[in-house]
């Protein structure tokens, strides 16, 4: 087996997402994160309700930590052949930690700064996001180009594009997309117009944090959803651009076979990426790991 390890972004979190890991030796990661950032991550992963987990920063930190809990357990398994790593939006930072480019502590610091910066930008320019199903990329791009404040924000799978924009821009986009034949336009429970020019104000805050961390050469290559290339010299530049650029997840998935990947393994709750990979590459073997039992079964 030659594996791609993939890490989800915001939207996969749910109440009690850390509970399966409470008794795992790897739980010390959560205690350490709480100490580093002076926040109660045990509460967030075990007791936070859906409302608390919807806010940008808690949503991102809880997803990041839970993915790393699963990944740590996976790394204890007899060695696996890992060809490449990738992550969806926030998950790209998780992938950079798993790939050895960022230390766990630096990754945590960046996720925290990124979440805060995005939340602040979203307060300056309130926005929303919606999944558009049943229209080609081209049609979605054409319609958004003709509108003031709506942009394609994530290419998730064939005929599945997320659009992002101001509340008014998204309402206009919704009508136009339905008129053009979209089968569904589904609002996503996120707090801002992520991956659009409206996130430009978040760059300053993130860039300060990007300058304060170190970047090691990758132990395993990490494919970026910003430009569908391997992370190399300019990791901070790519992460800064990521705030305002669409996530090219579908293109990342389509690139995996060229890296020799025959199995995609998702780390974290929800199984959202596993579904997107199945929709994009129907013949790819796909596994979703969320609990210690899942990991043990995979190690077989």
């Amino acid at each position: 087996m030659s594996l791609a390890l993939v890490f989800p972004g915001q939207g996969s979190q749910r109440p009690g997402l850390g509970a399966p890991w409470r008794a795992d030796p790897g739980w010390s990661l959560v205690e350490r994160a709480s100490d580093l950032l002076h926040r109660d991550f045990e509460q967030l992963l075990l007791d936070a309700d859906a409302e608390q987990l919807r806010s940008t920063s808690p949503a991102q930190l809880s997803t990041f930590l839970t993915s790393l809990l699963v990944w740590q357990a996976f790394m204890v398994l007899p060695s696996q052949e890992v060809a490449v790593l990738a992550g969806h939006s926030l998950g790209e930072l998780t992938a950079l930690v798993a790939g050895g480019i960022l230390s766990c502590d630096d990754g945590l610091a960046l996720v925290s700064a990124r979440g805060d910066a995005m939340q602040t930008a979203a307060e300056l320019a309130p926005g929303a996001m919606a999944a558009v199903l049943g229209l080609d990329d081209d049609a979605v791009e054409r319609i958004c180009a003709g509108l003031e404040d709506a942009w394609p924000a994530s290419y998730n799978a064939p005929a599945h594009v997320v659009v992002s924009g101001t509340v008014a821009g998204l309402a206009a986009a919704g009508s136009a997309l339905r008129a053009a034949g979209a089968r569904r336009v589904l609002s996503l429970p996120v707090g801002g117009a992520f991956h659009t020019p409206l996130m430009a104000p978040a760059r300053d805050g993130l860039e300060i944090a990007l300058r304060e961390v170190s970047y090691a050469p990758p132990a395993v290559p990490v494919l970026s959803g910003v430009d569908v290339r391997l992370h190399a010299a300019d990791v901070p530049g790519v992460l800064s651009r990521q705030l305002t650029a669409p996530v090219r997840w579908r293109q990342v998935v389509e690139a995996l076979p060229a890296y020799g990947v025959d199995t995609v393994v998702e780390f974290g709750p929800g199984g959202v990426l596993a579904g997107l990979v199945r929709r994009t590459l129907p013949n790819m073997r796909v596994v979703s790991l969320a609990t210690p039992q899942d990991v043990a079964r995979f190690g077989g």
């Binding site: 939207g11 749910r14 959202v272 596993a274």
Partner: protein, 81 residues
């Protein structure tokens, strides 16, 4: 189409697309409340069923559904006999 045949397709597609066990897909259960399926996955799943049965399900019709049994009933009313 027999109701049991509709239920079979609903169950098979749920196992395939939603990562749930076949035994968990019971008529008195809810995809969202009992099987923990997120709304986006559920929408993709209903689109797949529209294709499988050659029908259309409106968002209004779907919004009112509480249980998998009610979902099967709705599909059955749409499928040409």
């Amino acid at each position: 189409m027999e109701r049991s045949e509709v239920l079979q397709v609903v169950r098979d597609k749920a196992v395939e697309m939603l990562e749930v066990d076949a035994e968990a897909v019971q008529e008195d259960k809810s995809f969202v409340d009992d099987l923990d399926v997120d709304s986006l996955s559920l929408v993709e799943y209903t689109m797949e069923l529209e294709d499988a049965f050659g029908i259309e399900l409106s968002e209004e019709e779907l919004a009112d559904l509480k249980t998998i049994g009610a979902f099967v009933d709705l599909i059955q009313t749409k499928v040409p006999t």
